[in-house]
């Protein structure tokens, strides 16, 4: 194990981090072992499966391919940062309602990648959902229920926006300190 000789300063799920870490470790390992955020998973360790997906500056990245030193000064959000005060992100809620989860190993990455899509496109087609989840592999579900959950989440958020409400189910009670985009 290499030395923890690098002072990492970044934000994770909105919280400032200031911690001595191994700069050469994979960000995946730093998140899991040092910050105890075990939502991101290691499937392949080589960028193929997307189980380790997190947000970096609002974009989905494979944390197994980011070296910890590269997170310096950047904004990270993991699956743990997506629910708000115990209320699930719309996409998470729809994964529950559509029964899109079997073993669950791929799901944190799927949810992050899907959120990235909905941040860019509020009315994605099935084709666009498939493209956006092209970097995520699920060996259980066959994907259909995952796609359905994402499309349904998009529809719900569009409806909420039309009604002039916060665009996420979790934000509905209206007592949150920050709009959802700031947390990504």
């Amino acid at each position: 194990m290499a030395e923890k000789n690098f002072r990492l300063q970044c934000t994770v799920n909105g919280h400032p981090i200031d911690k001595m870490v191994d700069p050469t470790a994979r960000l995946l390992d730093t998140l899991r072992e040092e910050l105890h955020l075990t939502g991101c998973k290691e499937g392949c360790g080589q960028g193929e499966c997307g189980a380790c997906t997190i947000f970096m500056d609002g974009k989905p990245v494979d944390s197994c391919l980011v070296m910890t030193i590269q997170a310096q000064g950047h904004r990270l959000v993991t699956i743990e940062g997506m629910a708000f005060e115990g209320r699930l992100d719309t996409i998470q809620q729809m994964f529950v309602e559509e029964a899109s989860v079997q073993c669950g190993f791929c799901i944190p990455g799927m949810v992050v990648a899907a959120r990235a899509l909905l941040e860019e496109k509020e009315d994605p087609t099935l084709e666009e959902v498939r493209y956006a989840l092209g970097g995520n592999i699920c060996r259980c579900t066959g994907y259909h229920k995952i796609f359905r959950a994402v499309l349904r989440a998009a529809k719900i958020e569009r409806q909420l926006r039309l009604e002039g409400k916060p665009s996420q189910l979790k934000d509905l009670p209206g007592v949150h300190p920050a709009p959802s985009a700031d947390r990504l």
């Binding site: 290499a2 700069p23 050469t24 994979r26 360790g45 080589q46 960028g47 193929e48 997307g50 997906t53 970096m56 974009k59 989905p60 990245v61 494979d62 197994c64 391919l65 980011v66 070296m67 030193i69 590269q70 310096q72 000064g73 990648a113 990235a116 899509l117 493209y131 956006a132 092209g134 970097g135 995520n136």
Partner: protein, 285 residues
């Protein structure tokens, strides 16, 4: 494996470090190639210079009559850029097909080029656009044509301490382009063969379709990406017809020199080079 890493956030300090370090250097940009190789344990001991936050390597801009893309620009930024869609449509399509979203968020065009891989997806697009690479080191700057950059798989013309600074090409009014590939599946698949075509149609021509500019390149069918010069000359000589396109596809098949490997057979690659050219230009008929 022992890795030494330094983070640089400024070009001068980066070039200074690159000039003074003894032994092997890797430039860590998006890490989508390096981190995979590090994990597989196939890299020699080296000093890694982290360059993803060097501002001078970022940005897409039009300077004079040239489009400039910093070497550290990601595939995601390229595919979304209005400037690239306008002036380098083949490149926008190529970047949109690299990996999946997570790979495109991090992977850079500089890294794609520096690998000197014959299957790198953006490179045929850059050949078709006649890109010039600006290389920089502490000794100064020089420019090489993209076609002269890769020498063989994993070998390029970069000298010690030298990095790719930017990728530039002329803005050609009316430029159109196509990038396409054959691969096992749509996402995260390495191309069996890929193509980049850029062209400007001749507006003077009253009937039919002629080209004022046309460059065609294939990847994964030789030790480096390959310009199909015979195809280009043949197609530029006379207006396009169904017959002439078919003949051009045969020329393409004889111009490429593929090998068989785990991903595909030489014969199949050769045949598909013709098919990709046909698919790229037949909509013009």
């Amino acid at each position: 494996m022992e890795i030494k890493v330094q983070r640089h956030t400024d070009l001068d300090s980066l070039l200074k470090a690159a000039a003074s370090i003894e032994g092997r250097i890797f430039y860590l940009a998006g890490g989508t190639d390096l981190m995979v190789q590090a994990h597989a344990g196939v890299l020699p001991p080296a000093t890694w210079l982290e360059i993803s936050d060097v501002p001078q390597l970022h940005g897409i801009s039009v300077e004079g009559s040239e489009l400039r893309i910093g070497a550290g620009v990601t595939h995601h930024e390229i595919m979304r850029s209005q400037l690239v869609q306008t002036w380098a449509p083949a490149l926008a399509q190529a970047s949109a097909n690299v990996g999946g979203p997570q790979i495109r968020s991090r992977g850079t065009i500089g890294g794609n080029l520096a690998n000197a891989s014959p299957v790198a997806d953006t490179v045929p697009a850059l050949y078709s656009l006649g890109a010039q690479l600006h290389l920089i080191s502490q000794r100064g700057e020089r420019t090489v044509a993209v076609e002269e950059f890769a020498l063989a798989p994993r070998r390029n013309v970069l000298e010690p301490g030298e990095i790719i600074y930017s990728i530039n090409f002329p803005c050609r009014p009316g430029i159109k382009g196509v990038w396409n590939s054959m691969a096992q599946r749509e996402s995260l698949a390495i191309s069996k063969v890929n193509i980049g075509v850029s062209y400007v149609l001749d507006p003077e021509l009253e009937e039919g379709v002629g080209f004022n500019y046309l460059q065609v390149a294939f990847g994964a069918v030789g030790p480096t990406v390959l310009r199909a010069r015979q195809v280009e000359e043949y197609l530029r000589a006379e207006p396009l017809s169904a017959q002439r396109l078919e003949r051009a596809c045969q020329l393409a098949q004889s111009e490429v020199s593929p090998i068989s490997d785990v991903r595909s057979q030489a014969d199949y690659r050769r045949a598909m080079a013709g098919v990709l050219l046909y698919d790229a230009l037949s909509p013009l008929l």
